[in-house]
Symmetry: C2
Subunit: 407 residues, 2 copies
């Protein structure tokens, strides 16, 4: 077993999109090697490779077998690992590439969306002990019959975190095309601040709000195994953002991020009898139909009747209305209403837990701008408000100004 | 284990070069399935995929690691098997794809040019018994440490023959972009005849003469395991040519093929002392330097001195001359001469063994055209003559006319 400190680095598709970028990645890895690290690298498929393979398959079938899609897509990462190994050899760095199968990234076998159950470290430790950089294909694993499976969206991040976990290191760098996590979307807020640190829970909340750089599963995995994820850019040497346990954070902002999300729609089921089980029935049925419900608010009305409002992805709106209408034969609601032009603006921050009045302040700020709040939902580290879509940008700007810039 | 008759089919790169061609291959497989066969399919990488991957690697290194090149190139076949499985599913044919690793195509581990040592048939038989078409990635295998290795040029043909051998079937179809083996190159002879049958040895001789549709190794393998190779086109339903044991052939032609080859050069080492060991030293050295020597002729001269003429690939000529010059310090030859504008015209035929005077007849035909023969070499089933390159086409035409068209 290697005596050196192990670091796991993951390079995304844009970081290895062409031979020039692959050479740059090799140079970066060399610097870590020269500093004395044992380096384990996870790479994604080059640039648009995965999309191109999906297009090829689509020309053959509208509904291709998941097993065969995994067989197909896993080649993208295999190309990257081989090329990166070749690039490292060229600059005098000993390196060896492994597929998911070769280091036995064992999964639950759920094609196209598998969960990692374990990774064999023998071969990795042996190669590290020989002074080699170990390059592992991300996004892929095998089931018990050695069928190739892929890990779903953000899968390579999860591969990297899982490797850090089994190799017992807390150091995991995620190289991507942004240089960290910001307090807001730079397309909305002119100069958002880059966060030095962010907690797992804040990162998960951001992912849920569609503003995350990382996919939830990799963050959950990192939280579970207490791994520090350094999100940074492969195009610069700037420090990025470290995703870490709350208790280790040097500075906890009350609000560390403002998001606004416009891909959801609101549905209101009006005046249903206020008795137990009706909401359960509705949301169970939506769950069964694989419709993801984000916010839910129930308000008591009059005559023992209540209204339930909730949001779903705009793509799922039509199906959701159909389900509501069908179920309403039993419910007896007076109306099924929907609104598509909404925005969900949210403030996320772990410091909210120890700070009073954040919600109140948020409502005041929006009200000062005459922005009507149609729904509110709160969690321990976030407050979300549904507002009219035309105010999405304005709301984000005033919230960012008050909570972040003035902080 | 399946009760049905097993057939192994191999489809080359042009046969699966795009989704349309893959669909056509799927339809063809379906017809065999409908006829009651258990079908095992080997596919190559799509069209120019392998070349494109080689170009990518070349941008990173002039001398990439063979292990990593095998890791890289094996993805080409993996893409093909997945897409073919998807295409088969789409037309209602149950099918499953396997990488070389998944069916344990165990090799000697010689990266980029491995030899197959064995294939595990359990999984293949199980899938066939389930009524599935089994699609295996050609050109690839693994070593004992599960490193991915490739089989070198013509590797997918060898994969197919090896599968036929371990599955104990003699039926192996090799689909390519030509519809069989012809008596001559159609670019030289206007209407060569397609052979219904050809023996392993003739096919090997044609491969050696650069005129083979199949690579030598797959033919040697087929000979060893007594497998009938049906070489045919995936673009038509025409019967192709069956490569088979001589003793099973219905019709044995004295001459079944005329070839002419212009990519070699002749070297003559003149007047070296006619004593044992000198030729051995020279050709051992050329072998060590990986220079392939095709024809060798030694002629005794005067004063106990002899001249040796031999041919090598034109690409190797410069290195060969350098080696000869260096070694000549010990030999004391009077001259090292070479000639680049030569052609090797050959007549190949298993019937030659039982037919007298073929060589004499060949020399007469060439002499009637005033074509000077500079070197002659004969084997049991072939006669080759080195002539001036300008007569290459003429020689092939007159030989084809006399030996084949008049036959």
């Amino acid at each position: 077993m290697s005596e050196k400190k192990i670091i796991v680095q993951k390079y995304g598709g844009t970081s290895v999109k062409n031979p020039e970028r692959i050479k740059a990645v090799a140079e970066r890895i060399k610097r870590y090697k020269d500093k004395g690290y044992s380096v384990v690298v996870v790479v994604s498929a080059m640039g648009k490779t995965t999309d191109e393979l999906i297009v090829l398959a689509a020309e053959l079938s509208k509904n291709p077998s998941k097993r065969e899609m995994d067989m197909l897509l896993s080649t993208g990462e295999q190309v990257s690992i081989a090329l990166l190994a070749i690039a490292l050899h060229e600059i005098g760095v000993d390196a060896i590439s492994y597929t998911g199968s070769q280091v036995r990234v064992l999964t639950d076998g759920n094609f196209s969306n598998a969960k990692i159950a374990g990774i064999s470290t023998d071969r990795i430790h042996r190669s590290l002990a020989e002074g080699k950089v170990v390059i592992v294909a991300g996004f892929q694993g095998i089931d018990e019959d050695e069928n190739i499976v892929t890990l779903g969206r953000g899968g390579s991040d999860t591969s990297a975190v899982a490797l850090a976990a089994v190799l017992k290191t807390r150091d995991c760098e995620i190289y991507t095309d942004v240089d960290g996590v910001y307090t807001a979307d730079p397309r909305v807020i002119k100069s958002p601040k880059k966060l030095k640190e962010i907690s797992y829970d804040e990162m998960l909340e951001l992912a849920r709000l569609g503003a995350g750089v990382l996919h939830s599963r990799s963050v959950e995995f990192a939280k579970k195994f207490n791994i520090k994820l350094h999100v940074r850019s492969s195009f610069s040497d700037a420090e990025g953002t470290i995703v870490m346990p709350t208790e280790e954070m040097m500075e906890k902002f009350v609000i560390s991020g403002i998001t606004s999300k416009q891909d959801e729609a609101k549905i209101t089921v009006r005046d249903i009898p206020d008795k137990p089980g009706i909401a359960a029935k509705l949301f169970n049925e939506l769950g069964t139909q694989k419709i993801y419900v984000n916010m839910i608010v129930q308000s008591t009305g009059h005559d023992n009747r209540a209204s339930i409002s909730f949001t779903v992805k705009k793509d799922d709106l039509k199906r959701t209305i159909d389900i509501c209408n069908t179920m309403n034969k039993d419910f007896g609601a007076t109306a099924i209403e929907f609104k598509e032009d909404i925005a969900i603006v949210s403030a996320v921050g772990v410091g909210m837990q120890s700070s009073y009045g954040v919600a109140g302040k948020m409502f005041s700020i929006l009200s000062e701008q005459n922005i009507n709040i149609e729904m509110i939902s709160t969690s321990e580290i976030g407050i979300s408000c549904v507002i009219d879509a035309i105010y999405a940008e304005l709301a984000a700007k005033v919230l960012h100004k008050t909570f972040i810039e003035a902080q």
